[in-house]
């Protein structure tokens, strides 16, 4: 029994590794031998092989047991085989189906239906440069097959992965369609170099790849290489983890046509609560009066005695009621938006040829006014056997995206500006124009007050025309050649071609809706990127008795060139023609950059009795980015596994049916450093003599010929456990990684002429725990499954630049400090302990000399009795304490229902909108809760919001705990319901499967965060990640879909 199982598994392993072709090769041999044995006594047996649904299986193998005699089935699944008299048993096999032995018992007709081998299909995972049976994996590889993201209405497969995999943190910083989420695998392993994982699409490694370019429905599986031993085969690009995308291929058999249509509705359900017109007027008046009183005036003073900046519009004093509630600019900005997604795929093939053709068109309006996203994705994947030893394949995908996406750029973009705009102004003035700066409008009386603010949504969405077009072509072609048994040569050529074009035109004056009356302007830019890769590998795969060996050596070369150009024009005679020829060109530029890489790689997988596993890899990378003295680096790894449940003492154990222990060690690199970081560059810096322009060149950075990759060393321990016949399966991992040679823009004394120098120095550590538990709670006609995952990561900086000087980054006043002994990017500022109510309270505590009642209480952190810059301290950190996800799936007959919860716990966010909406800032609108500000000792407000003033003195404006909000949230991420029509209804029509479904994404967020979404962050990388100037809200999306397979 034991040897049978191991033989079976080993066979499957081989089959899947080699593909169908090797098997066919052996078949051909068998058939040839079959001819030679025709002389002996024999009889014909015939029949039909079908699958469990009754569909014919062409190309299935029928063998006479303990002989070389056999045949394969024809297109109808039929076979005829001449069987020797002494034969007793036939073996039926087909890839992906359980092999079956049938006793002949003298019959001449044997029909058979094969059952799919579900386990074998699920258990093969793609690893770098090959595949591996899941139970043989010794590193940490998370795998997600297409079933786990089907019906999800996302444009990017990463969004569907969010919350499903422990250790893989995927957050949606911007909710705009087409905005890629931020992916962090096992914490942040770099301070200034990139932290995005490497994407490998059908074998082509791509840095900064936008996965929106791949239609999620074309994806067969996504694998995430989390630990350094699995990622080490990608060498200097593996330190942030690797995400492998494998697209679907056709399967031999009948052609399947899959037609799918989805209709979706998107809504912004979580708005920011800001002041209405009445609250704003009260706030405005008080802020002016408080400052005027501080300057020696009286609140009752009329404008005639006040200097300009303290003056208040008469309308606010005499008749504030005329403004009513005013305009909620978020209501103007956002709308309910529909989407349509139509997909068609045709797949199938024969033993020699398999194909998949697919096309999908997505037409999506976005929730933000005038925004949209349209994507056409076409793919053709073909595999062909040229001879019994030579195979080739070609995957070709073309994607074109037309979109307009505003609102994702933070403080000066339309979403943030809508939140900052004052509610007192109408959507249209009496002239049909947009703003109060229209000199012919009665609203113009407010224009003399420089502290009233309106950036009208329509002035940015309707008075500016924008379109972005992207064209992406991705091609991978390979040739495989079996040199001798077990030894295969594979050569591939891969390419990615990306073309972007962006056009915009701003109407003259924008109907007075913007803060200033700007001239018409046209912009055009285009980007071109070509990335090519050639790969050559030799694989040797062989079993020797109880030893199985799989060895790989390879060589790759890759090159990428990016080109960018832009032109701007102004001085348009009118707004009729928007192309740049109608105006005068005011500026233009073009730039280009490139990188190249050469790599050698090797791997050995070995197992003994399918119980003891050992893998070792080595990669040598050379990169144009690295300095002259450090062009090449080595990235080794070793890992081992012990499948304990195969040992005799656990065999047939009733409790434990699967148990594996894993341990790994590996070294990976992070090459996401500037293309020319090692070289001292000159940049243009011109001067003028008289009227003559004089070209000048400036040294922009210091050369560093020793620049190299960041090096991450990681140890991973894992345990996989299956209990009660896999009713309960558990996987737990423990990792510890150290990143050395951090490439830091090390602050150097400014007297060198530079503030920073790119240097490999510094060290940080990530350690963490990941847990995944799946249970099959009920397994009857009604079934209920639960998947739970949990991840925890702790990050600590161990060493920085010279003297370990902390790295401090600021945006406006928001300060983020990275110091030794602390996690990356601590928020750093004063602690506000509420609001001073009386002068006595002020006198009793250390305070800034400018403090008056109504000002914030600043904590004397160091206890020296005075408030100084030394009282700044750690206020929080964006990195969560832990994250978790929970998915429950229920099915009953054709009905499937599932819901998913996802949570992030213990993180903090810098609410950068405090700058505009939390503190008086030039008359911008404020958060609604700011209306509870301190008015007087008798009317102290909520004790949090200090008195507003147009001239803040002291520390009100400084970065403090007033800016920090709790980032903890629990999200009902997804609810799905689908119904598959019973087969009995489809018997008389040519439809194999018919299904309808409803899918809801981002159903509800439980969070105290005041801005749109706790996952929002204006910065998607770097040290300021977690600072939010309001971002594009993440909408709730409900889609209705129907799927038919012919």
């Amino acid at each position: 029994m034991k040897s049978e199982l191991s033989t079976k598994v080993r066979n499957l392993f081989r089959l899947l590794l080699y593909g169908i072709f090797l098997q066919l090769l052996s078949m051909t041999v068998s058939l040839a031998q079959g001819v030679t044995t025709q002389e002996s006594d024999e009889r014909a047996v015939q029949g039909k092989v079908t699958d469990d649904q009754g569909e014919a299986l062409p190309g299935a193998t029928v063998l006479v047991k303990e002989s070389d005699i056999g045949t394969i089935t024809d297109m109808e699944g039929r076979y005829v085989l001449n069987v020797p008299e002494e034969a007793t048993t036939l073996i039926f096999s087909y890839i992906g189906y359980l092999q079956q032995e049938v006793a002949i018992n003298g019959r001449s007709v044997i029909d058979l239906s094969l059952n799919p081998d579900v386990t074998s299909l699920e258990e093969v995972v793609v690893v770098g440069y090959g595949t591996q049976e899941k139970s043989a994996v010794t590193g940490s590889v998370a795998s997600l097959s297409h079933e786990r993201f089907e019906d999800r209405s996302f444009n990017n497969v990463l969004q569907s992965m969010s919350g499903q995999l422990p250790g893989v943190n995927i957050t949606q910083a911007q909710g705009a369609p087409g905005s890629s989420p931020i992916v962090r695998i096992r914490g942040i392993s770099s301070i200034t170099a990139g932290t995005e994982p490497l994407y490998v699409v059908d074998g082509l490694p791509l840095e900064d790849f936008n996965l929106n370019m791949i239609n999620p429905q074309d994806i067969e599986s996504v694998e995430v290489l989390k630990d350094a031993s699995s990622a080490a085969i990608y060498g200097s690009r593996g330190a942030n983890g690797v995400i492998l995308i494998t697209t679907k291929t056709g399967k031999p058999g009948q052609t399947t046509v899959n037609l799918n249509y989805e209709y979706g509705i998107q809504d912004v359900v979580r708005k920011i609560d800001v002041m209405n017109a009445q609250q704003f007027i009260d706030y405005y008046v008080t802020a002016h009066n408080n400052a005027w009183i501080a300057a020696g005036g009286l609140a009752s003073d009329p404008n005639s005695v006040r200097p300009k900046q303290y003056q208040i519009p008469e309308d606010f004093i005499n008749n504030p009621e005329q403004f009513g509630e005013g305009t909620d600019w978020q209501d103007v900005a956002f709308r309910r938006a529909p989407s349509h997604n139509t997909q068609l795929s045709v797949s199938g093939g024969t033993d020699k040829t398999q194909f998949l053709f697919s096309g999908a068109y997505l037409d999506q309006d976005a929730v933000l006014d005038q925004n949209y996203y349209k994507r056409l994705a076409i793919r053709s994947n073909i595999r062909q056997e040229l001879s019994d030893k030579v195979r080739m394949g070609l995957n070709l995908a073309f994607t074109s995206i037309y979109d307009r996406t505003d609102g994702t750029q933070g403080k000066s973009d339309v979403v943030s500006l809508a939140v900052q705009s004052d509610p007192i102004f109408p959507v249209y003035n009496e002239n049909g124009n947009l703003g109060f700066k229209d000199p012919n409008s009665e609203w113009y009386r407010f224009a003399q007050f420089t502290d009233l603010q309106l950036w009208h949504v329509y002035s940015l969405t309707r008075e500016i025309e924008k379109q972005n077009k992207s064209f992406n072509t991705l091609g991978t072609a390979f040739l495989e050649y079996d040199i001798i048994d077990g030894l295969t040569f594979r050569s591939s050529i891969n390419g990615n071609l990306l073309n972007n074009r962006y056009d915009s035109y701003r109407n003259k004056g924008q109907k007075y809706g913007y803060s200033s009356y700007l001239d018409a302007q046209g912009n055009n830019s285009s980007a071109f990127m070509l990335n090519w890769l050639t790969e050559n590998t030799l694989t040797y795969d062989k079993s020797f008795g109880e030893h199985t060996l799989n060895a790989l050596v390879g060589y790759t070369a890759q090159h990428q060139k990016d080109e960018f150009s832009e032109v701007a024009a102004g001085n348009y005679p009118n707004d009729l023609v928007h192309t740049l020829n109608a105006g005068t060109v005011t500026g233009g530029s073009s730039t280009a950059s490139e990188w190249s890489m050469l790599s050698y790689l090797a791997r050995v997988n070995y197992d003994f009795q399918y119980k003891y596993f050992l893998t070792a890899t080595l990669r040598r990378d050379g990169s144009s980015r690295f300095g002259q003295n450090t062009k090449w680096g080595y990235f080794p790894s070793v890992s081992a596994g012990w499948l304990m449940s195969e040992e005799s003492f656990l065999k047939n154990n009733n409790l434990i049916n699967f148990l594996k222990l894993r341990a790994s060690y590996g070294v990976t690199g992070n090459n996401q450093i500037p293309n020319y970081g090692a070289i001292s560059l000159l940049t243009t810096s011109n001067y003028v003599y008289g009227a003559e322009l004089a070209n000048g060149l400036e040294v922009s950075n210091i050369a560093n010929p020793n620049i190299k990759w960041e090096k991450t060393t990681q140890v991973n321990l894992g345990i996989d456990l299956g209990m009660f016949r896999n009713r309960v399966s558990l996987s737990a991992e423990l990792y510890h990684s150290t990143t050395n040679d951090l490439l830091l823009d090390v602050p150097v004394p400014d007297i060198t002429g530079f503030s920073t120098q790119l240097t490999n120095i510094g060290k940080l550590r990530n350690k963490g725990v990941e847990l995944n538990v799946s249970t099959k709670n009920v397994e009857k006609a009604f079934s209920w499954k639960t998947d739970f995952n949990f991840s925890l990561n702790r990050n600590k900086v161990l060493q920085l630049g010279p003297e370990n000087a902390p790295i401090i980054v600021t945006d406006y006043v928001a300060t983020v400090k990275t110091a030794v002994g602390q996690p990356i990017s601590n928020f750093y500022g004063y602690i506000f302990d509420g609001v001073y109510n009386t002068q006595e309270e002020i006198d009793a505590t250390p305070h800034d000399p400018s403090t008056t009642p109504g000002d914030p209480i600043v904590r004397d952190v160091n206890g020296d009795g005075q408030i100084t810059e030394d009282d700044r301290t750690t206020l929080g950190n964006y990195q969560p304490n832990f994250t978790a996800g929970l998915i429950n799936t229920f099915s009953y007959k054709g009905l499937d229902f599932s819901f998913m919860l996802q949570g992030t716990f213990g993180s903090e966010i810098i609410n950068q909108m405090i700058r505009y909406n939390g503190i008086w800032n030039g008359g911008r609108n404020a958060f609604a809760d700011v209306a509870n500000y301190w008015r007087s000792p008798e009317n102290p407000g909520d004790g949090i919001h200090f008195k507003p003033t147009i001239e803040p003195k002291g520390l009100q404006e400084k970065f403090s705990s007033y800016w920090i909000e709790d980032g903890t949230f629990v999200r009902i991420k997804n609810i799905r319901l689908s119904y598959t029509l019973p087969q009995s209804l489809l018997n008389n029509i040519p439809v194999k499967v018919a299904r309808v479904y409803v899918n809801a994404e981002n159903v509800h967020v439980f969070s105290d965060y005041r801005n749109f979404d706790p996952e929002n962050t204006t910065y998607s990388s770097g040290l300021l990640i977690g600072a939010d100037y309001t971002s594009y809200p993440v909408p709730r999306i409900i889609t209705f879909g129907a799927q038919i397979n012919f």
Binding site: Q309, Q448, L538, G587, V688, G690, L697
Partner: protein, 474 residues
């Protein structure tokens, strides 16, 4: 046998594909020059020198250190509502600048970044295989700029690290703050070299290059600051007797955009308006914030105090030529607010929400030379040339407001304030004459002796803990 052949064939294939040479990895930047091949030819040095001159754009920008110090830390100018971190920008006028002030750190970076551009030329030209005369000319120009910059720095920060050649990060930790005397001796050395080797103004190769007169004028100012009136008088007399300079007959013509590099100009920063050019930022920066009429937005820098407005004698034509008293908005309402007028460019092209103005900026001009000469010689004759141009009675004459300005020193102080108003001189003048504390205190500025120096930026002290803070900033 067949198998072996196949293996050989595949082996050859592999070798072919391995054929990429290591040079595949040597990629030169496509959109920037590589500095390693630079500083060789005269063309290289010309490009580098032009960049060194362009550092004047940051050092004398409207939001530069000298602007904040000279105008806002004196009694000339203030700030209202402005964009950016208001508290850090308001701190100068209120004398509450803290070491963590982001503007002060920016100033520090600007100066040392500019000094790098100068020092690397001075170092590389030494060994360059070029004509001696050219090398001397380049060195003299660079030393003029370096002298100017260190003179500004020592007056604003006091002791600063003295960097005279490109230094590596490792070396920089050993360079601590030098005594003021050492800085002044470098300034004198540099300017003396410049005065010796630079050509007369009429002989400079292109307008805008430093001249002998510029170096001598600056030397005169340094000597005055060091209280060496004899040396100052001598060098300033040479400027006068060189015959290179004259007061323009009309004060107004100094501020006409197209009047560049006039006879009165001694050292002038060159700008060129229009898209793609190094345009002049002063008009945009000095216009009232969000005026929407004069400029698209307006920067609101150096808004003029009533105190400066009132300093002018009643019939002084320079008052209305230097200061606006307000503007009329689009609805026809007059908005009263005083702001600088000297750098108006109402015909500037606008691109991307800002004006691309054409005005130059005079760092040194002949009126300054004459006023300094009166200060050095105690002879009011030079002062009176300046007053005569403005059509005002001479110091010592019956009509002179002696009651207000009873001594020559006070008369010079007054004249410098109104003649050179808003041109980044006032605070430095008051400091030079030890008048800053009494004058500014009387006007309500919370100033102390310590606060007449800026703090060393906090981040600079964090980077090198061996550096010490100025007193009064701990």
């Amino acid at each position: 046998m067949n198998t072996i052949k196949r293996i050989i064939a595949i082996g050859c294939l592999c070798i072919l594909s391995f054929g990429c040479k290591e040079s595949f990895l040597d990629l030169a930047p496509l959109s920037n020059s590589n500095a390693s091949n630079f500083y060789k030819t005269q063309e290289d040095f010309d490009l580098a020198v032009n960049n060194a001159y362009s550092t004047l754009y940051t050092i004398y920008a409207p939001e530069s250190a000298v602007s904040y110090c000279a105008e806002q830390m004196s009694d000339n100018a203030t700030l209202y509502n402005v964009a950016g971190i208001q508290a850090d920008r308001w701190a100068f006028k209120d004398y509450i600048v803290k070491p963590a002030n982001t503007e002060v750190y920016r100033f520090w970076q600007n100066y040392y970044n500019a000094l790098y551009s100068i020092n690397i030329i001075l170092e590389k030209i030494e060994g360059a295989d070029l004509a001696e005369a050219y090398k001397q000319q380049v060195s003299a120009e660079m030393k003029f700029l370096r002298g100017l910059y260190y003179f500004n720095m020592v007056r604003m920060w006091g002791e600063v690290p003295l960097v005279t050649r490109p230094v590596t990060a490792d070396e920089s930790y050993d360079i601590l703050r030098s005594p003021e005397a050492d800085i002044y001796s470098l300034v004198l050395e540099d300017l003396q070299y410049a005065a010796e080797h630079l050509p007369l103004a009429s002989e400079v190769s292109v307008p805008g290059k430093a001249s002998k007169g510029a170096a001598q004028t600056l030397l005169g100012k340094v000597y005055l600051t060091l209280e060496d009136k004899t040396a100052a008088a001598q060098v300033l007399q040479e400027v006068v007797s060189s015959g290179q300079y004259a007061l323009l007959p009309d004060y107004a013509s100094l501020w006409i955009v197209s009047n560049k590099n006039t006879a009165e100009s001694v050292f002038e920063i060159q700008y060129k308006g229009g898209a793609g050019n190094p345009f002049s930022p002063y008009w945009t920066a000095f216009a009232p914030t969000e005026n929407f009429v004069l400029t698209l937005y307006g920067g609101g820098m150096n808004q003029v105090t009533d105190n400066l407005w009132n300093e002018y004698e009643a019939d002084d034509p320079r008052k209305e030529l230097s200061i606006f008293t307000g503007y009329t908005n689009k609805a026809g309402t007059f908005i009263p607010i005083k702001f600088p007028k000297k750098w108006v460019d109402s015909t500037a092209q606008t691109v991307n929400g800002r004006e691309l103005s054409d005005n130059n900026f005079m760092v040194l001009r002949y009126a300054d030379v004459l006023l300094m000469l009166s200060e050095a010689t105690d002879d009011p004759a030079y002062l009176n040339q300046v007053r005569a141009r403005a059509g005002l009675p001479a110091f010592g004459s019956a009509d002179y407001p002696m009651a207000k300005f009873p001594t020559l020193a006070l008369a010079i102080e007054h004249e410098r304030r109104v003649e050179l108003a808003l041109e980044f001189h006032r605070w430095f003048d008051l400091k030079r004459t030890d008048r800053a504390l009494p004058v500014l205190t009387a006007k309500g500025k919370p100033v102390t002796a310590d606060k007449l120096l800026l703090p060393i930026p906090e981040i600079v002290l964090q980077q090198n803990s061996a550096l010490l803070q100025n007193p009064g900033y701990d």
